[in-house]
């Protein structure tokens, strides 16, 4: 009984501050301290959410944004992971690729937006390209480091116990690098949203960012705020997924 109350507390407390802010915001909008054209009340944001949902517009914007995020993340994440893997494991790959990757990494990928628009237009390709590019480097660096700095004494032990090649990799090296790899994944999820928001805001004709920019044209403050809230929710969602992965894959560390 007591532990149940404790458990409930643990789930409720983190939401306390967002709830208070929401209630305060509603209250001050209601008494007129916050004017509608500066910041619309939560209720009007909510009602515009319902309106856009029933028209199907919200769903199409959200799904296109999520698709871009996911596809870009997968492409960039897989490429970054593979490069990190090969450069971490094979000396020759390290010598061949690492310097070039480090040079590319230091270019802010958002600076490429003008170039990317000229290359790919403002279609899906340009957003996915930018997201993939942004996600690639955090995953690469953390995978590379994770693999390079696996405890050498454990590798020696594995060899002394007859492990080699793929067995050594899957039993010792990859699990040893896993916590570092997941740090990269978590970091790159943040980069993924950031890149997508910027790309969609600057140039797009669909997606959450476009919805916000479009609403600006018509001074629809409630829709703009709705877009921001959506980004916050999706950001939280990807964090939850990352935490879940950590809990599953690093269970031994808990």
């Amino acid at each position: 009984m007591l532990s149940k109350i404790k458990e409930m507390k643990l789930t409720v407390i983190p939401w306390f501050i967002p709830l208070v802010l929401l209630l305060g915001w509603q209250f001050f909008s209601w008494i007129g301290v916050i004017p509608e054209r500066i910041l619309p009340a939560p209720t009007s944001v909510f009602s515009s959410a319902i309106e856009l949902t029933s028209s199907g517009e919200l769903f199409s914007h959200v799904s296109i944004s999520l698709t871009r995020a996911l596809v870009g993340f997968l492409i960039g994440g897989i490429i970054g992971f593979l490069f990190g893997l090969f450069n971490g494991v094979f000396r020759i790959a390290d010598l061949l690729f690492d310097t070039s990757i480090q040079m590319l990494r230091n270019i802010p990928h958002l600076a490429l937006i003008p170039l990317v628009i000229l290359w790919f237009g403002i279609d899906e390709t340009s957003k996915i390209f930018l997201v993939a590019l942004g996600v690639l480097f955090p995953v690469y660096i953390n995978t590379y480091h994770g693999i390079k700095y696996v405890d050498k004494s454990l590798i020696e032990m594995g060899k002394a116990y007859g492990l080699k090649g793929t067995a050594l990799f899957f039993h010792v090296i990859l699990p040893g690098a896993m916590s570092s790899i997941l740090v990269g994944v978590r970091f790159s999820l943040g980069v993924m949203w950031l890149t997508l928001i910027v790309a969609e805001t600057i140039s797009a004709h669909s997606g959450i960012g476009y919805m916000a920019m479009n609403a600006r044209e018509f001074m629809q403050m409630d829709v703009i705020v709705l877009s921001i809230v959506l980004y916050a929710l999706f950001g939280k969602l990807s964090d939850v997924i990352a935490r879940y992965l950590e809990r599953r894959l690093l269970r031994w560390n808990m």
Binding site: L154, E156, M157, A160, A167, P175, G176, W252, N253
Partner: protein
């Protein structure tokens, strides 16, 4: 009297010495790290089933010697023969147990023991874990175990391969005194019930005298003392003969120390 009480194995060693095959033969072994010579022309023969303890000050090369026998490092010159065949790479007959255990933290106890074994050997791993008294903890992760328990798992992991040679690299160095005594008893009984050869590297001379058929003292990269211990097992630490051996070996270690101290004093008195 003392001789009668010897273990049968040791008796065999003495009476049929010429027939007994040497398990390990080291010939003028040299190992250098850069400019530093760690082992210089070391010779040693170890018989099948023998329990050898190697003692010496830290940095004397005793761990290096063990790693050479395990095939984890290459020597600069000399020869290592295992069962009369030269050792080229990793010593496949040997399993080594390290001071820091080196369990894989992401594998449960049972999976750590099964490391490098085919899938169907789980049952065998369970049996070995029972022998070291950890069968109930086999589903736990190593982080949940105490230092002594971790070393038990490491011991089980080494023994599950039925090695003909068990190499122990200061395996009990990090444990508290009581746990260490307990583990010494465990290692001794496992060694008595299985027919493996054992080489223990330790800085604890008492541990060496308690466990080994022969205590080897390494100094300046060479064997300085090769002392057989003819005492009945399990050995009583209070036994006068035990104390005698202990004192003798300690004296050999300290003696060298004193001489060096004198040299240091001389140098000091010469320099202004």
């Amino acid at each position: 009297m003392e001789y009668v009480m010897e273990r049968k194995k040791l008796e065999d060693d003495v009476s049929v010495l010429s027939d007994q095959k040497n398990h390990i033969v080291l010939k003028s072994l040299v190992k250098q790290y850069g400019d530093r010579t760690v082992l210089q022309g070391l010779d040693l023969e170890v018989k099948k089933g023998e329990f050898i303890a190697i003692v010496g000050k830290s940095g004397c090369g005793k761990s290096t010697l063990l790693r050479l026998i395990a095939g984890l490092e290459e020597m600069n010159s000399g020869e290592i023969r295992i069962n009369d065949k030269p050792l080229k790479q990793l010593n496949e007959h040997a399993r080594i147990m390290f001071q820091d255990g080196r369990l894989l933290p992401w594998k449960r106890v049972i999976d750590n023991v099964c490391l490098g074994l085919p899938k169907h050997s789980r049952q065998k791993a369970k049996i070995v874990l029972t022998r070291v008294g950890l069968a109930e903890r086999m589903k736990e992760f190593p982080s949940k175990l105490s230092g002594g328990q971790k070393q038990r798992v490491a011991l089980a992991r080494a023994l599950v391969h039925d090695p003909s040679l068990l190499l122990l690299d200061e395996p009990l160095g990090a444990l508290d005194a009581l746990t260490r005594m307990e583990m010494q008893g465990l290692i001794e009984s496992l060694w008595q019930n299985n027919s493996f050869t054992s080489i223990l590297v330790t800085h604890d001379v008492e541990e060496a005298v308690a466990l080994a058929d022969r205590v080897i003292l390494i100094e300046d990269g060479k064997i300085k003392l090769n002392q057989p211990i003819h005492l009945p097992r399990p050995r009583q630490r209070t036994h006068p003969a035990f104390a005698m051996h202990l004192e003798e070996i300690l004296e050999q270690i300290m003696h060298q120390n004193q001489r060096k101290d004198y040299v240091m004093q001389d140098i000091k008195s010469i320099s202004p």
